[in-house]
């Protein structure tokens, strides 16, 4: 593992008025590492993810990202064009609802090609080849390339969203409940796919979820949040098998056994 962290998060704090969104969250993420953030609804995990991905402005703290050209830079102090450039090249964001992350009126190929065109690709044949290639990687048949996402099932939409995000070869992927709302067999295939892609491309990822099974499969490290604070961190297996904090113990013991 390279000694230089890809992402260094320092004391991120975000208030909603007088209420706490998240408070004093710090961690390092190394290249190739997958970090899970779990917690119940309202615990601040989505707020935190929004702050990291530049969608929300935190009230305090810094997010240092190891950029390709200039080394670590605070993304919160970057100019808007720089940050948006980053978010369509080195970053990717997978939404819980595929509809939020896809253009529903544009064909699957157009959805995948958008990021390529946004960074300057101007050769139709190349763009299309890459789109078909990526559809194959996420197990969508090549003959669906001209269909709109509205004609896709929920699981296919989510896979298409992943293809659309990964096509520019990002180094850091933010995922907000990537398997939420999908039935278990579809979830399993999606997780399998994600695990393969993460390993194959050496991606770093931050996955927000309330599904402990998802983090056990995908995440190397785990952060447990409650009421805007981080209550426990550690290796995934360690946290899940030997939870120390009272809330983590409750969380782990609440999982339904089949």
């Amino acid at each position: 593992m390279s000694p230089q962290p890809l992402l260094q998060v320092r004391d991120i704090t975000r208030f909603y008025g007088t209420r706490i969104g998240c408070r004093d969250v710090s961690f390092d993420l190394y290249p190739g590492e997958v970090m899970g953030i779990v917690g119940e609804s309202g615990s601040g995990k989505s707020t935190l993810l929004g702050c990291l991905a530049g969608q929300l402005a935190p009230d305090a703290g810094e997010v240092l990202f190891d950029t390709r050209t200039d080394g670590p830079r605070d993304t919160l102090k970057m100019s808007e064009p720089e940050r948006r450039m980053l978010s369509r090249t080195d970053w990717a964001f997978v939404h819980q609802h595929a509809r939020d992350g896809l253009r529903m009126g544009v064909s699957a190929g157009g959805n995948v090609g958008e990021r390529l065109m946004a960074v300057g690709a101007r050769h139709y044949g190349d763009i299309r080849d890459q789109a078909v290639d990526w559809l194959g990687r996420v197990e969508i048949p090549a003959d669906r390339v001209d269909d709109r996402p509205t004609a896709f099932s929920g699981g296919m939409q989510q896979r298409l969203q992943i293809a659309r995000n990964l096509v520019t070869g990002p180094r850091l992927v933010f995922m907000d409940e990537p398997t939420g709302g999908l039935d278990v067999s579809v979830q399993a295939r999606l997780l399998d796919l994600l695990r393969g892609l993460v390993r194959e491309m050496g991606l770093s990822a931050i996955i927000v979820t309330h599904d402990l099974a998802v983090v056990r499969l995908l995440a190397d490290r785990l952060m447990v949040m409650k009421d805007g604070h981080v209550v426990e961190t550690g290796l995934t297996d360690q946290v899940l098998d030997d939870p120390q904090h009272g809330y983590t113990q409750l969380l782990v013991s609440s999982v339904l056994q089949v």
Partner: protein
């Protein structure tokens, strides 16, 4: 004539519009917001173009109005009469003699000169409108030069039709910076936008935007390397004047499937016929000219 201020609008309004025009000329392709006024015509009939013309006209001007290239359609005749009455300016149907030309959906075939101003009527000034409905977002996209989405539209065209099927309001990039909607002119006219000696002004009344191209501005139609831009027209010559280089209207002549192709620019077609050029159906010419009006 005495009931109206010159060219209908009051002087303060014209100054406000001129400021917007000057700003538009200073930042070619940028959509300048302006306080569009109610005009005595419905939105969609050229309220933007009329306001820009009103702010541009001076008593010495000679004014021409075309609608889809024609001088003799309702919209063109009404706007021409409007300014005859409210500004008392001379009017003409000859492109070369006009100093201000208001147009809907065409650029005249006769090349324009440095002492002319071309005013476009624009229904929807935002080229990204149907791709991104939020105005706040499209403005941000313009300011950050994020135009990947525009190519997504062209990509969709090719994937569905095998070619770029957008045939009018074809998006262009101005001086390598702003992506602009050239108003619904056929893409056949797009090359004429670039390096044009005349000033080109675009007015959108309902959407309250003015934008402009100063003379000799570089305007490039967007395309892909392997699907280059093509200025297309009906593969035919004008049946009245025989012109092979002008944009054509297809006119149905009877209910037996009869049809002819005629120049959409009526002034250009008449000029050619007066100079002795003859198309294949020229013997029916007087009747046809009436039929298409």
């Amino acid at each position: 004539m005495t009931e109206y201020n010159f060219a209908y609008l009051d002087e303060q309004t014209k100054r406000m519009i001129r400021r917007a025009i000057l700003k538009g000329l200073a930042v070619p392709g940028y959509q300048v917001p302006f306080a569009s006024r109610e005009m005595p015509m419905p939105y969609g009939w050229g309220t933007g173009g009329v306001q820009v013309s009103a702010a541009t006209l001076v008593p010495e001007d000679r004014f021409k109005v075309i609608d889809q290239g024609a001088d003799d359609t309702t919209n063109a005749v009404s706007i021409r009469k409007f300014f005859e009455r409210t500004a008392g300016v001379e009017t003409t149907e000859h492109t070369a003699e006009a100093s201000v030309i208001q147009t809907r959906h065409r650029i005249p075939e006769t090349p324009l000169s440095e002492d002319q101003i071309l005013v476009y009527q624009v229904p929807i000034p935002e080229p990204l409108r149907f791709l991104e409905p939020r105005e706040t977002e499209t403005r941000k996209m313009h300011s950050l030069e994020e135009y990947g989405l525009m190519h997504v539209k062209l990509y969709e065209d090719i994937s569905q039709h095998g070619a770029i099927a957008t045939s009018y309001a074809y998006p262009v990039k101005v001086e390598g910076r702003y992506v602009m909607d050239p108003s619904p002119i056929p893409k056949f006219d797009n090359p004429k936008l670039s390096d044009c000696p005349a000033i080109q002004l675009f007015g959108a009344g309902r959407e309250q935007r003015i934008y402009a191209l100063p003379p000799y501005t570089r305007v490039v139609s967007l395309d892909f390397e392997d699907y280059p831009f093509e200025a297309s027209k009906a593969d035919h010559a004008c049946d009245l004047c025989g012109a092979g280089d002008s944009y054509l209207d297809e006119v149905i002549t009877d209910d037996q499937g009869g049809r002819i192709f005629v120049c959409s620019d009526t002034d250009y077609c008449r000029g050619r016929r007066e100079a002795g050029h003859v198309g294949t159906q020229a013997q029916d010419a007087p009747m046809m000219t009436e039929a298409r009006a």
